[in-house]
């Protein structure tokens, strides 16, 4: 003890356990914790995306050699001049808006009921509503074609009452109906979780203080469900805007969405440059919309685990 000098340096100059402790507290550990996910995103998202950006600026994609590439905005001009691409982009936007709105309208009451019910079937109900998650989307969507097709279930039923037939398959409503089905769980879960976080005695307290059911909902329940709603809206909107499988199977040639156009550019038309340009424009548009949404509505519900 007498040999100790009693400085701060002394205290930190410990044994092996001190070294380990310092390592655990150091900023390097945080880098280790983050790196697998960052690496994954970097390699499989950022790098491909850079390649797509590059392709969108070259006349002949993929370029033969990278050394003497001539940059051009020709692909963007072609996209801009083609009214068909622009109108598909606009249609895709509208499909995403409709899908998001209808999904919200359909899931909110269901989420509300499940969040506040005392029923012993509560978990079962929740499970039933997120069931779509667990079945392959291609198989499900093919099944829709049996319902909407020319001689499908809907037209058969209409035939029985001497109405119809109507054309549903390969129309925009068919795409919206299909997308609602696919993305419903993505709305239900955040809305349900923000509703179920609300202490029910808060609602009772509001009623005790003179609020009727409607006012209690407006003052207490609804505002506290908004983080979940905005999270659900954002997720469903972004996913349905860029949907590929559902519009491909239910929209057909005439009513595909923007992702289908990009797909056919690469796969069928061999026009990688224009396809890349459309992909870049689409991505920028999504980022802009997310930015605006975040700016004016707020996305805190997406990041905050507990409301």
């Amino acid at each position: 003890m007498s040999e100790r000098h009693g400085t701060d340096a002394d205290l930190s100059d410990g044994g092996v356990s001190d070294t380990v402790g310092r390592l655990l507290r150091s900023k390097y550990l945080r880098v280790f914790q983050l790196s697998p996910a960052l690496l994954w995103i970097g390699v499989f998202l950022l790098i491909p995306f850079c390649i797509i950006i590059l392709y969108s600026f070259v006349p002949e994609a993929p370029p033969d050699q990278l050394t003497s590439v001539q940059l051009t905005i020709q692909n963007y001009v072609e996209f801009y001049n083609s009214s068909i691409y622009l109108s598909i982009l606009l249609d895709s936007f509208l499909i995403a808006v409709f899908t998001t709105a209808f999904t919200l309208l359909m899931t909110y009451p269901a989420a509300y009921y499940i969040a506040f019910t005392d029923s012993k079937y509560k978990n079962l109900l929740l499970l039933l509503l997120i069931l779509p998650f667990w079945m392959n989307v291609v198989i499900r969507t093919y099944a829709w074609r049996q319902i909407f097709g020319e001689s499908g279930l809907v037209n058969y039923a209409l035939g029985v009452i001497n109405a119809g037939p109507v054309e549903i398959l390969f129309t925009m409503p068919a795409v919206v109906i299909g997308l609602i089905h696919v993305f419903l769980p993505f709305m239900l879960i955040p809305v349900y979780s923000s509703l179920s976080n609300i202490d029910r005695s808060q609602v009772e307290s509001a009623k005790n203080l003179g609020a009727n059911d409607l006012r209690a909902f407006y003052e207490i329940t609804m505002p506290q469900s908004l983080p979940g709603v905005s999270a659900g809206v954002m997720i469903v909107f972004v996913l349905s805007f860029g949907a590929f499988v559902t519009p491909n199977l239910l929209g057909g040639q005439q009513n595909g969405m923007i992702a289908n156009v990009v797909g056919s550019m690469f796969l069928e038309l061999q026009s990688w440059g224009v396809g890349s340009a459309i992909a870049v424009v689409f991505t920028l548009m999504v980022l802009l919309l997310v930015y605006l949404f975040n700016r004016f509505v707020g996305l805190s519900g997406l990041y905050e685990v507990s409301a």
């Binding site: 808060q202 307290s205 009623k207 003179g210």
Partner: protein, 369 residues
């Protein structure tokens, strides 16, 4: 006393509440008077919270009538009942400021904002939280949140304040502090208060009257002193404070006294005071005699003796557990005048005990009600 109904705020008339097969409240009748601090006390699951929730309007009685200010309330929704309730978990609105929380009831009443603001700041002052209007409830400590919840219930000046275990989420010291605070606020506002608790110490220190409930029915109703000193049965004697129950039998019934012969170990005949109002049947045959630990004296010439089994030093007193032929008796001996450094007693030593018959209570045996 009970026939005068002019100052009755709440009247429960034979209310029953069943949840499926479970009877939470079983044929309960009670009247709560203007300005009093009334406690519903009992172990968890005794139906006290259900009773409070029926007064607030969150539950509807299966049968019977709830009256507030003479009006039948069974079909009146909670938002039209003019009660202010404080919930166990406070139930503050986390997305609203403290000021908005406290002013919520006034807003629902359509009170204009300027007037509301004034009333809010007044009420926050009453609960000792002046100037906290713009804070978020999350930023407050548990004790402060509790005060905000109280202020929110009081801001509408309800004819009835309902408190559902409001202190149970707080630590011991804070709980004691807020207990005095609650009493002060209740006195200042004069609001009729119904307080639900399982904590007998809280009920005793706060209440004008206590209703002890067990298994959905009424065990005893009375002042804290009455309940402590004249428990009606073994359950109450045990539940309120600490009890030493000796079994015995009534030898002779006087006008205001009974002579009790203690069985077995303590062979003594005591003349114990009783109320004149109780029915004769309760004081015949087998009874129990309750003696509180602080009423037992340790003396050389006690009429019973036993061995000290354990000893706990409590500061102002020492708690002894004395074994009298297999029956353990709790004794609390004041430390006043005792030696500062030395123990008064030793474990294993034999001590004599005695008590004054006047401080005993006869507890009817048999019928639990």
């Amino acid at each position: 006393m009970t026939s005068d109904t002019s100052d009755v705020i709440v009247a429960l008339e034979s209310i029953v509440k069943r949840f499926g097969d479970l009877t939470a409240v079983d044929d309960l009748s009670v009247q709560i008077k203007e300005g009093e601090f009334f406690s519903l006390l009992g172990p968890s699951g005794c139906g006290k919270t259900t009773t409070l929730r029926m007064i607030a309007g969150f539950e509807t009685p299966t049968s019977g009538t709830v009256r507030i200010n003479g009006q039948e309330m069974n079909d009146v929704p909670s938002y039209k009942r003019d009660t202010g309730m404080v919930f166990q978990g406070y139930a503050l609105f986390p997305h609203k400021t403290v000021g908005e929380n406290v002013g919520f009831g006034l807003k629902m009443q359509g009170v204009p904002e300027a007037e509301r603001r004034e009333k809010v700041s007044e009420t926050l002052e009453l609960v000792n939280l002046p100037g906290l209007e713009d804070r978020s409830p999350d930023e407050l400590s548990g004790g402060q949140q509790q005060r905000v919840a109280l202020a929110r219930a009081l801001a509408i000046e309800p004819s009835l304040l309902l408190l559902d275990e409001p202190l149970s989420n707080l630590d011991y010291k804070l709980r004691k502090e807020l207990r005095f605070e609650l009493k002060r606020i209740q006195r200042e506002t004069g609001v009729t208060t119904v307080y639900v608790t399982h904590n007998q110490e809280e009920a005793m220190s706060l209440s004008d009257r206590i209703l002890i409930m067990n298994d959905g029915h009424r065990e005893q109703l009375g002042s804290p002193q009455r309940i402590y000193n004249r428990p009606k049965n073994r359950f109450i004697a045990d539940f309120i404070g600490e009890a030493n129950l000796f079994s015995g039998r009534v030898a002779n019934r006087g006008d205001r006294t009974v002579d009790v012969e203690l069985n077995g170990t303590v062979e003594e005949r005591l003349t114990v005071p009783i109320e004149g109002t109780e029915s004769d049947a309760e004081f015949e045959g087998e009874v129990a005699l309750n003696v509180r630990p602080e009423h037992i004296d340790v003396t050389d010439n006690g009429f019973v003796s036993g061995e000290v089994v354990s000893m706990t030093y409590l500061g102002k007193s020492t708690r002894l557990l004395v074994d009298i032929d297999g029956k353990e008796v709790q004794v609390e001996v004041p430390n006043e005048g005792a030696s500062i450094d030395e123990q008064q007693f030793e474990i294993g030593s034999t001590v004599g005990l005695s008590w004054d018959a006047g401080s005993c209570a006869v507890v009817p045996e048999g019928g639990d009600r």
